[in-house]
Symmetry: C2
Subunit: 396 residues, 2 copies
């Protein structure tokens, strides 16, 4: 019998990963993934950029790089993505990660000891929950309403638990699609400062806004260096590249550099240089406009599907952007239990709500739907199938 | 005062990383890095391959991939790198990592609890020591002679400590350049089986053989699934790509997949697809021949430098390949202490021996030299400078 480490007993396989194996089955329509639109990926520009970079400067791209990340990318990120948002940063305030997932992992690694309280939105990104469980953190959920984190509940729990860290996805949250408004963001930064806990502001979707007005980053309200802002190129350029970047105080960046060195030495230079050149060519603004025009009809198709095909008593979020929508079905008892039926009989995939909760007995009447990946016609068909299943289950 | 996690107190910055900042100073000659020859990097082929892949199949390369790794790379690895060595593996015996460093980290993550005994060659790769210290392992060094691990000492320590794992770099070891011969490899596999511990066989340099006969992988002698073989494309194609691959029993691969999912979701697809195509085009055999012809005169230049410029009582390994040579200087008291002088006065960089030892008070009269990165003329000049310093120190 193999003797794995004790922490392996706390690691669970992701329900999303488990459903991915069905995605390639013929006839299955998937509303379960978190992937961007394939037709929005800037493949031609990427090809052109890599060809240019490899003809001009191949050695730098192919040799070992430094752990903290490729300087030109960190500069381009500050110039093109932080400055326009009014966030000030120097080079030593930034570090590159091999995707946001690594960013979340290493931030937790730097701060969280077994037993430490970490506050999370409830529900939240399940891969973050998995990391926290693996590390033996004491995960405590903070209440949300349609405007995200409820400040009164956050303050109460901060006082009660003296948390090490708050993990939040304030814009187009995964899984709910909710966005925290500016006044609450200011309050979150203020509480972090007053009670001295760290805020990990995970913002992979913020630029993908289909409607409404942009909100400020929590980091913008951070006057004491308590907020770590995590951005990703997965939804801006392409997820397969695995490039993300964090902005924080230099003492935090130093610690992150230390654990990143142990974790993977450095992120591939080729993909970092590609992202830098993409930003420096000024391609991002137009690319985002095009991407948003791809997502708009998809989001609308899903909202129409909810109206046309879902049980009339269902409740759902109406996100202004991002990738996800969250649905509550008062008469459906267990969206985990009926997933098998959804796949086998209705040939449609979704992600059950329960795994996103701190307590996986919560949210059994909820599910997460993705509107970024499939075209509007596929979304309509998938929503019709899923609606039929949910009607059936609602009347049992 | 920032409250970092308790484990951060056990994380130390790498001495190699610390010396890297001097590498770019004008006039400094470096024998300290672990980089391959820049003129051996197959830049033109990489450019051509990426252009072809991105014209043919951009979506697959740019979308999310699966955690265990890109199927075509795992297939190509089995076909082109395992089969010729007589190592049998199916697809579910392999997993891709974002470089060997991640492979070492995640294998330790899967097996090692705080307090567990892990055996290592003494001296060994210092980044592996850092990982083990961070995890709170009880690291025990195994004695080496010119043929690597001394089997009698290994067996004695296995009996005494009941270790979870043995970490070994059996071919052209880092830092010593030593290679374990076949008979000892067979014994290591036998002991692992008999006493039921895991062997992590880290083999990044094995293909870079300048002279002598190839030896079998320890994995080839593994009849009970106790050995994990870790290979890297860093020294075969390019380190900046950050692609490595492990071969092990499916139950171990499953656990590695779980921790990798939490660590970085997956390795970038672009770099994986590039390695796959490189192998499938059959470019590796000729590329290795060319690489070896680059390294041969560099290795010889270093050996000549040792004869011509170093104190006559110095002892050194004569590696048949790889990247490193190990030098012991009986009359030099502390190679850590004189590094500053080497940089400032002699403008030459090396890595002191002590950080490679389990007990960093050992090896103060040793140093590691790299012969893969600099051209023969630079090596000669650097050895002349270093020899002058060491003569001076030997006569103090």
């Amino acid at each position: 019998m193999r003797k794995f480490s004790e922490r392996m007993g706390r690691v669970s396989s992701s329900v999303i990963r488990d459903t991915m194996k069905y995605m390639s089955e013929p006839g299955i329509l998937s509303l379960s993934c978190g992937s961007p639109a394939s037709n929005g990926l800037p493949a031609a520009e990427i090809r052109d950029i890599l060809d240019k970079l490899l003809s001009e400067n191949p050695i730098e791209l192919l040799q070992y790089g430094i752990t903290i990340g490729y300087d030109p990318l960190r500069k381009a990120y500050i110039e093109h993505l932080l400055k326009p948002k009014g966030i000030k940063a120097e080079l030593n305030n930034t570090i590159i990660f091999t995707g946001s997932q690594q960013g979340i992992y290493l931030v937790m690694d730097v701060f969280v000891d077994p037993g430490d309280v970490v506050l999370v939105e409830n529900p939240t990104f399940l891969a973050a929950l998995n990391i926290l469980r693996k590390m033996g953190a004491n995960v405590v959920g903070v209440e949300m309403d349609d405007n995200g984190i409820v400040i009164e509940d956050l303050e109460e729990k901060v006082k009660k638990y003296n948390p090490k860290l708050l993990y939040t996805i304030p814009t187009f949250q995964n899984p709910t699609g909710r966005t925290i408004p500016d006044d609450r963001r200011r309050e979150i930064a203020r509480l972090a400062s007053q009670y001295d806990f760290v805020v990990l502001e995970d913002d992979p979707y913020g630029e993908v806004r289909v409607s409404g007005q942009p909100v400020n980053s929590i980091k913008k309200y951070d006057t004491t260096g308590n907020v770590i802002l995590l951005n990703s190129f997965s939804k801006l350029i392409a997820p397969g590249l695995r490039v993300a970047v964090a902005t924080a105080e230099p003492d935090i960046i130093d610690q992150l550099e230390s654990v990143k060195q142990a974790a993977d030495t450095h992120t591939p230079i080729l993909t970092q240089a590609l992202c830098a050149e993409y930003l420096n060519r000024g391609l991002m603004p137009d690319h985002l406009k095009e991407t948003i025009e791809i997502y708009r009809p998809r989001l609308n198709a899903m909202l129409n599907g909810l109206t046309n095909y879902f049980p009339k008593d269902c409740q759902y979020t109406v996100p202004e952007g991002g990738f996800f929508m969250w649905v509550k079905l008062p008469r459906v008892k267990n969206t985990v239990a009926i997933l098998e039926n959804a796949i086998r009989k209705y040939k449609v995939l979704y992600v059950p709500g329960a795994p996103f909760f701190v307590n996986p007995d919560d949210g059994l009447d909820c599910l997460r739907l993705n509107f970024s990946y499939c075209d509007p016609e596929t979304i309509d068909e998938a929503m019709q199938r899923l609606g039929a299943l949910l009607e059936e289950e609602s009347n049992k």
